[in-house]
Amino acid sequence: MNALATGAADAIEIRNLVKRFGAFTAVKDVNISVPAGSFLVLVGPSGCGKSTLLRMLAGLEGPSEGEIAFVGQTVSSGAGGVIADAGRRNAGLVFQSYALWPHMTVAGNIAWPLKVARWPREKRDRRVKEVLALLGIGALAERYPAEISGGQQQRVAIARTIAPEPSILLFDEPLSNLDAKLRIEMRSELMRIHRATGATSVYVTHDQVEAMTMATHVAVLNNGRVEQFGKPIELLRNPATTFVATFLGTPPANLLPARRVADMFVFNDTPLTSGSIAPGHDAVQLLYRAEDVSVGAVADKPSVTARFAEAAPIAGRTMVTAMLGELRITGMAEGYFSAMPGDPVTLSFIRTPDAVFAVSGERITQ
């Protein structure tokens, strides 16, 4: 309780967290803190350690090193293991599989955690009704989990988790088992619930669109390490590594390897940009966003000729992908565009690169 008095403590603070399973290190030296009420999204490819990180936040796994503090109180540490039990963290977890108890009705599933927490009967019944209404599943109260659809099970799982009014909500890829339409619907539903409860949320996903649309804070994980942590727009605008640059954003940004020839960086015999953007580097990777690559020749702009691969119309323009050897390059064409696969396509680089990275993947700041 002392920690509360300081007032400044972050809702979640992760310090130097490491998790090893035998010789394998799943989570490597992670540092993240977010203020109360944030919506933190942990995003990364499968096997990047994001679920392990979430399970450590939930108290289902103990860290090997480092510590986790909720509102200034250390709940787990490498030295002490799980200090506060999963049930005593005032945190709720929505499982990827929903983990509904099959032998209890929908209402029973929601009420059980409240029973465990010894809520008096009346208050419990009121709360169950309340969350059923909040999730719009009041009609399903007496059904068993096996009798309702996947989307409804998802809502029950969320209702069960928020019923005890946890101050921290944890989500483990909750939308991955839903079809595309339902997923978009549940995305806004989850954001509505986040606003309604005000609980600090941590959300694990491999879908960068979910990360960009829902998060107040995003941590991009790769190989157990945080590649970059910050606000979604900031990550999009100023990616710290090539991994972040290519992982986030729709359509994915282009990364062109270029080498210094005289005073220019040259890609595939085409001089693209001045060598002064990365002094001291002889080889770099240049980041061009799809909107900076135009289909067709443009006066005074460098261009390459690639082989057409595919086109997808997006909001009145067309996203065109072409192959140059093994490299995919995506640009935008005005209106609709189509061609036969293998046809030559001219792609022009109409702006200077958005970012420059070293061959190692690190950002080169200018």
Binding site: G87, Q96, S97, A99, W101, H103, P113, A117
Partner: protein, 582 residues
């Protein structure tokens, strides 16, 4: 046959096109195998003699001894064995699946072994150790070595129940362990997140989720104990403890067929009633399928200081129900005096020549022509029944799957599962009712090898259809259809695609049927005659006559045949489907 006529008007054209001959043959076969014997045994008890038998069994001065007393014993055995199996099997399943006990694989293997050992092996081993001198004859190992064994521990209900528990608990273990491992870690962790402590999670989540499996395990072990013949016959009959199955056997053996049939029907009723009741409890809205968690992970609870003590308890249970009985049988088959298990060992009972002092001048089992005959008969029976069962099962399963949802498929699958409700000794009685006398121009089949094969195939039908379905389930419709798109005809597809994919499953099923037949006693005990002896029956006869060493030696032969078959199957399976090798 009436099924065909009810089915035919629904779509005559479709029937012709999709080949009606095969399904019609199958319905006929199943009707003859399953419906006819049961109908016949019921009808036999509705004749004047049959009615008299009903009266004698149910409402007469005899009925206490014919029906009520055996019923009481049967029920006590059924409930006792079911509870014992739930406790032992449940404990072992909990230990292996839900805790961090050391040697989990070993314990899991030990949990499944006792079911492989015939129940009369355990009964014989028990007798060898615990028999007392009350009935004359030589005493068992303990009493010979100065440890007085009270009657209740030597004979009757208690030892019968113990022996049956030792046999059937592995069935309960298998069922409960499968259910426990389907309880995903997520379900448990969701409970932990709610703040529930371990007991609360166990009683509030895990136990209710596996309750259907517990009920299934209880009812199957109950049905097994109620139907079992060997254990009560070996340990109960000498002190006149009768169960329904031994009573039924006694009636038919002494030529009182109608009374035997009445008892068979009552036994079927008792067994089916409980199986049906348990099915009612489990089905319905609560017949939930567990949603498994990520990768079927299960949560293992740490046992702390209890790890090794509980491991020791589990290993002891495993040893007492597998290794110890086999060792006792082996020692006994070598010991000339049945009480002195470990002295004066001789191979006489195996290969000795007749005419000596030992065993009233009888030759060892491998010099006994009856026994060689029985060995050959047993293996032949096992092989033939395995073949017919799997072929019939595959044909039935294929028809049922192909016509899913049709009346024909429903009738076939329902009929094929009827034998599950019928204890094997009662099933044998039904076969005597049907085939005991000539039918029209057909001679009586009683006592022939053919009757044994037919009855055994019929009794294995539920298993056959089940494994046929699971084999076919492994071959997705896509695989078959993609072969069809290449233009391959039915036979070509059958041999090039379906057969290679199905062979492993068929083989595994066939081996199980083989083992079941080789160690079966309760089905063959009524259908056996001197002209078609099988090993288990010869062993039973020897035991009934007091030649324990011979009985034990033959039981060991049965065990070795079963084990050899299992190993052979294991070795062959990897050869048959090379792409599945690790």
């Amino acid at each position: 046959m009436t099924f065909i006529s009810t089915f035919a008007p629904s779509g005559g054209r479709r029937l012709l096109r999709s080949g009606f001959v095969m399904p019609a043959i199958l319905v006929a076969i199943v009707a003859i195998l399953v419906v006819a014997p049961l109908a016949r045994i019921l009808l036999s008890t509705l004749t004047p003699e049959g009615i008299a038998a009903w009266q004698a069994v149910l409402v007469s001065p005899l009925s206490f001894n014919l029906w009520w007393r055996p019923l009481f014993n049967t029920m006590v055995l059924g409930f006792g064995v079911a509870s014992g199996c739930l406790i032992l099997g449940g404990f072992l399943a909990w230990l292996v699946v839900l805790t961090d006990v050391p040697g989990r694989r070993l314990l899991g293997l030990m949990g499944t072994l006792p079911y492989m050992i015939p129940s009369f092996a355990a009964a014989l081993a028990w007798g060898t150790l615990f028999r007392n001198s009350r009935l004359g004859g030589s005493a068992g190992f303990f009493e010979t070595n100065g440890l007085a064994i009270p009657d209740w521990l030597a004979w009757g209900l208690v030892p019968t129940a113990i022996v049956l528990i030792a046999h059937y608990y592995s069935l309960a273990y298998t069922i409960i362990a499968a259910a426990l491992s389907s309880v995903g870690a997520d379900l448990v962790e969701a409970g932990q997140m709610a703040g529930a402590k371990r007991p609360r999670i166990f009683f509030g989540i895990i136990l209710p989720v596996v309750t259907p499996a517990l009920i299934a395990a209880a009812s199957l072990t109950f049905a097994g104990a109620v139907a079992n013949f060997a254990a009560p016959a070996l340990l109960g009959l000498p002190v006149r403890m009768q169960t329904l199955s031994t009573r039924l056997f006694g009636m038919i053996e002494t030529g009182q067929n109608e009374r035997g049939f009445v008892l068979a029907l009552l036994l079927i009723a008792v067994s089916a009633l409980f199986l049906w009741m348990s099915d009612r409890i489990v089905s319905g809205r609560k017949a939930f399928v567990t949603v498994t968690g990520k990768g079927g992970r299960t949560k293992r609870f740490p046992l702390g200081a209890w790890r090794w003590p509980l491991f020791a308890v589990a290993v002891t249970i495993g040893l007492l129900t597998t290794v110890v009985p086999v060792l006792v049988l082996a020692a006994s088959s070598l010991a000339p005096q049945s009480g002195a298990l470990f002295s004066n060992w001789t191979l006489h009972f195996w290969i000795g020549e007749g005419g000596g002092e030992i065993a009233q001048g009888q030759a060892g089992i491998f010099r006994n022509p009856v026994l060689i005959d029985a060995l050959w008969n047993t293996i032949r029976l096992g092989l033939v029944v395995a073949l017919t069962t799997m072929l019939l099962g595959l044909a039935l399963a294929y028809t049922i799957v192909q016509r899913r949802g049709s009346l024909l498929a429903t009738i076939l699958s329902q009929l094929a599962f009827v034998p599950l409700l019928v204890p094997s000794i009662a099933f044998a009685a039904a076969y005597i009712a049907l085939f005991g006398a000539p039918i029209g121009p057909l001679p009586s089949l009683y006592g022939t090898f053919a009757l044994l094969v037919i009855a055994a195939s019929a009794h294995n039908l539920p298993f056959a259809v089940q494994s046929g379905r699971s084999v076919l389930g492994q071959i997705s419709a896509d695989i078959e259809e993609s072969a069809r798109l290449t233009g391959a005809g039915l036979l070509r597809r059958l041999f090039a695609i379906i057969f290679p994919l199905a062979i492993r499953g068929l083989f595994a099923g066939a081996i199980l049927v083989f083992v079941k037949m080789v160690r079966d006693l309760s089905l063959v005990v009524l259908l056996f005659t001197a002209t078609s002896p099988v090993l288990s029956m010869v062993a039973y006869r020897y035991a009934a006559e007091g030649f324990m060493q011979f009985a034990n030696a033959i039981t060991l032969v049965i065990l070795i045949v079963c084990l050899a078959a299992s190993f052979l199957a294991h070795g062959l399976q990897n050869r048959v489907q090379k792409w599945k090798q690790p």
